[in-house]
Structure formats: C-alpha cells, structure tokens
C-alpha cells in the first residue's frame, strides 16, 4: 500500500512539475520579449490578448502548423533525435531540484516532500544531464548537412568542453562548505535567514557559476552556436516546425533549470530570506529567487554584445579556469584552518 501511495505521489508530482515547467517556458519566452522590448524602449508583444499574454500560445500554434522539413542531405535519424535529446535533458534536470520543503495532505497524515527525486548525488546528476543537453545541439547541427549548422555545433562542442570545466570547479567551493552532493542537504544547511546563504560565503563562485551557466545554456554574450550575424542561426538553421520549437523550449527549460540550480546552491533554495518570513510557503520563495536570476539572464542579454569566438575560448581557459581554481584553494584553506 505504501508503495502504491508513493507511486501515485511521484506521478502526480511529475505531472505538476512538468506542467509548471512547460508553462514557465511558454511565459519565459513572453517575459524575455517583453523585457527586451522595454529595455529597447518599446513595448514588446502586446497585441495578442491583454499585455500580449496569449502570445506564447499563438507562437505554439504557428510552430505546430508550419511545414516539417527534413533536408535531403540530413542524417535523418540523428536529425530527428537531436531536438528530443535537448528537451529531455533540459526537463529531466529538474527532477532533483528541491522546490519546497514538505506539507501534510489535509485530513490525512501523509507527508508530501516537494521534490521529485532526492538522490544523494543530485549535483552530479545535474551536471551529467546538463552536458547531455549539449549533445542535442551538437548532433542537431552536425546531422543537418549544412555548413552553418556544422560550424554552430563545432562551436557548441568547444564551448561546452571549455566552460563545463569552470562550471564544475565553481561549485566545488559549495560542496566543500556543505560536504554533500545531495541538493536537499545543501538547501537545509542554508536555513535560517539570508546570512546563511552560500552566496555570502562563496560570492566569487556565484559569479563564476552565473558566467559559466550563461555559456552552458548558450545565451548572449556566449551564444556562439547560434550567432545570428555570422552563422544565420547556427545549429538550428535547418530545423522547422515543432522540431525548432523543441529546441527553443529546450533552451528556455535549460535556462530555468540552470537558474534553479543557482538558487539551490547559492541563494538558499526555498528558504525564506528572514526567519520571520517562514510562514510563506517555500515554493513562493523558490519562485521569487528563480525570477530574480532569470530576470538577470534576460537583462544582461539586452545589455552585452556577443563575444568573439577566440575571446570566449581565451576567457574560459585563461581567466575563468584559473579563478575558479584559486577560489577552491582559498575555500579549502579557510575550511582547513578553521578545522
């Protein structure tokens, strides 16, 4: 009976999280266009429903009715598989993110923990699956039989290798502090107010993590794989219809997940910033912090130009890599001296 309850609970949680994630992805595209619009002193989408709120659905319907084209020179199975890999990796990353504490079902004593899976190597899982997502981009560009696509995926591969190193190293400081890879434990250690958040103990690591995360999700300043001006869209140049929409959704889902990881590791996850505010559910705080990070992602996109390819490589290997190493050494030294 207990197993059955657990099964039902997991399925319901999966459904809810998936629905919320997809809805957030839809409205993230709206938010991005709105924020970019206001940064450029214009309105952004405002024709489709009040404040353009129906725009994501209009876009979805449009993408659905477009012709699904597979180029003749494409490697068809890989071409079809690539967007699926992208979206699956982006969504499944969210499985280990703790987005709230726990609540008891009303009229029963059944406790529901607000996370889908609480595995002890949660952080490893996140980074493993995150790099899997890049395979979708690499394979997609490579299999479409197009020089721009191929160049885009080459750049994606190079960028992934360079920035994954710094990304992995930037969170080692957090792991040293919390001595755990389990995300719930990392969050639990940051309880009791914002002065316990990891961002105060690892500020440099947070900055490095955000920079590497931007490179990881192929966002402007680091959107090499799809640099519009040189590659005319890069890896997804031959994709149309829902396949393109899948890539698009994967990109935004990836963005949400990376922001969620940043919130979990550095901003105290679902913990309230002040102990007095604990009565507000953790999901709210999680969402609020997520919004702040995502807003920063969009804001900096509207601000910074794209870096040149060699600048990105130079920055990744000659600056970020060293800085994250130095950060680890300093953190380890302080932890060692404190005993």
């Amino acid at each position: 009976m207990q197993v059955l309850y657990l099964l039902i609970e997991t399925i319901v949680k999966c459904g809810v999280v998936f629905a919320c994630l997809m809805l957030s992805v839809a409205y993230l595209t709206w938010l991005e266009r709105k924020v970019l619009g206001h940064i450029q002193i214009r309105f952004g989408p405002n024709r489709c429903g009040p404040f353009g709120l129906l725009q994501p659905f209009s876009d979805g319907i449009k993408a659905f009715f477009k012709e699904d084209l597979v180029p003749g020179r494409a490697d068809k199975p890989v071409f079809v598989l690539a967007p699926m890999i992208s979206i699956i990796a982006a969504i499944s990353m969210f499985a280990v993110i703790p987005f709230g504490d726990r609540f008891t079902l009303p009229w029963t004593d059944y406790v529901v923990k607000l996370r889908i899976a609480d595995i002890d190597i949660g952080l490893l899982y996140v980074f493993g699956v995150a790099s899997l997502g890049e395979f979708g981009i690499v394979l997609g560009g490579w299999s479409s039989g197009n020089k721009y696509g191929l160049t885009g995926s080459l750049r994606a591969a190079a960028q992934m290798i360079s920035y994954e190193v710094a990304l992995g190293l930037s969170i080692v400081g957090v792991i040293i502090l919390s001595q755990s890879l389990r995300l719930t434990e990392i969050v639990a250690l940051q309880a009791g107010g914002f002065w316990n958040w990891n961002i105060l103990y690892q500020p440099a690591a947070f900055v490095f993590f955000i920079i590497c995360a931007l490179a990881e999700i192929n966002r402007t300043p680091f959107d090499m794989p799809e640099s519009e001006s040189e590659l005319a869209c890069g890896f997804n140049i031959e994709y149309s219809s829902m396949k393109f929409a899948l890539f698009f959704m994967a990109e935004y889902a990836h963005m949400i997940t990376v922001a969620a990881v940043a919130v979990t590791l550095f901003l105290g996850g679902w913990q309230a910033p002040l102990p007095q505010l604990d009565f507000i559910p953790g999901v709210f705080w999680f969402g609020a912090k997520l919004f702040v990070i995502i807003f920063f992602f969009i804001w900096q996109r509207g601000t910074f130009p794209r870096l040149r390819y060699d600048q990105i490589m130079k920055f990744g290997w000659k600056v970020l890599f060293e800085l994250t190493l130095v950060n680890i050494f300093i953190t380890a030294l302080i932890v060692l001296l404190k005993g």
Binding site: H38, I39, Q40, I41, R42, F43, W299, G302
Partner: protein, 137 residues
C-alpha cells in the same frame, strides 16, 4: 573591465523602467511630415467647384502619366475639365502636378493610407478629388 559592464547594466535597467516611445500605429498615428506628399486633392473655388482650368500642364508633366484630362468650355467661355482622371495606383507622388498647376487647383494631400480590394476605386475623378479636400484641412 568590470565597471563598464555594470554601467551598461545600470543603463539598460534605467531604460527598462522608462516609458516606451513606441507610437502604436493603428490606434495612434504619427502626423506626416510638413512637406509630405500624399493623395492629391482639388482646391475649391467660391462656388465649391474645382479651380482647375484644364490647361493640361499636369497631364504633360506627370512622369507616370496617371492624369487624363478632357477639356470643355462653359457658357462664359471658361475652360473646365469635362473629365479629370487621376489613377492613384500609378501615381508616384512626385508632386510635379502641384508644382505645374498655374491656378493652384491640384495640391498634394496628407493621406498616406488607402486600401481597396479592387482597382476601380483608385481611379479618382473630379468629385473624388474635391471630396479628398476634407481630409486635408
């Protein structure tokens, strides 16, 4: 290196909270420029008729040859256009007709949006050109 990046972020955030300068076109229309050349109209004389004397200068000067005039004379021997046709689909809005007109009968208006489903309504005659006056106060 970091200070300019932060400056840029502050600038865009300021822009984000400023009012958009967009003119939302179908609801709000930007006034056309002072010397804007739109659809032509006829200036009226005291009796509300056209001032055109059918000299044919506009027909002669029109580079796209969209003006066609047939001349007639009234009882007092004054010339007037029996037929004045201006094909608005062919007009290139160069404004030569306005410049050529010796009596300032035809003038360039301000109208810049005109959509029809057929070609026939674009063929403007004297009445239509006189009616166009009300859009150009």
């Amino acid at each position: 290196m970091i200070i300019p990046l932060l400056k840029g972020l502050a600038f865009t955030l300021g822009r984000f909270f400023s009012r958009p300068i967009t003119i939302q076109y179908p609801e709000v229309k930007a006034p056309p420029a002072e010397r804007w050349r739109g659809i032509q109209y006829f200036e009226k004389d005291e009796q509300g008729k056209t001032k055109c004397v059918a000299c044919g200068l506009c027909m002669a000067v029109c580079p796209s040859q969209c003006i066609y005039i047939e001349t007639a004379e009234d009882e007092e021997g004054r010339r007037y256009p029996l037929v004045y046709e201006l094909d608005a689909t062919r007009c290139i809005f160069c404004g030569f007709c306005e410049e050529a007109c010796p009596v300032n009968a035809i003038l360039m208006g301000k109208t810049y949006e005109w959509v029809e489903r057929a070609r026939a309504p674009f063929l403007m005659n004297t009445e239509k050109l006189l009616e166009e006056k009300k859009y150009n106060p």
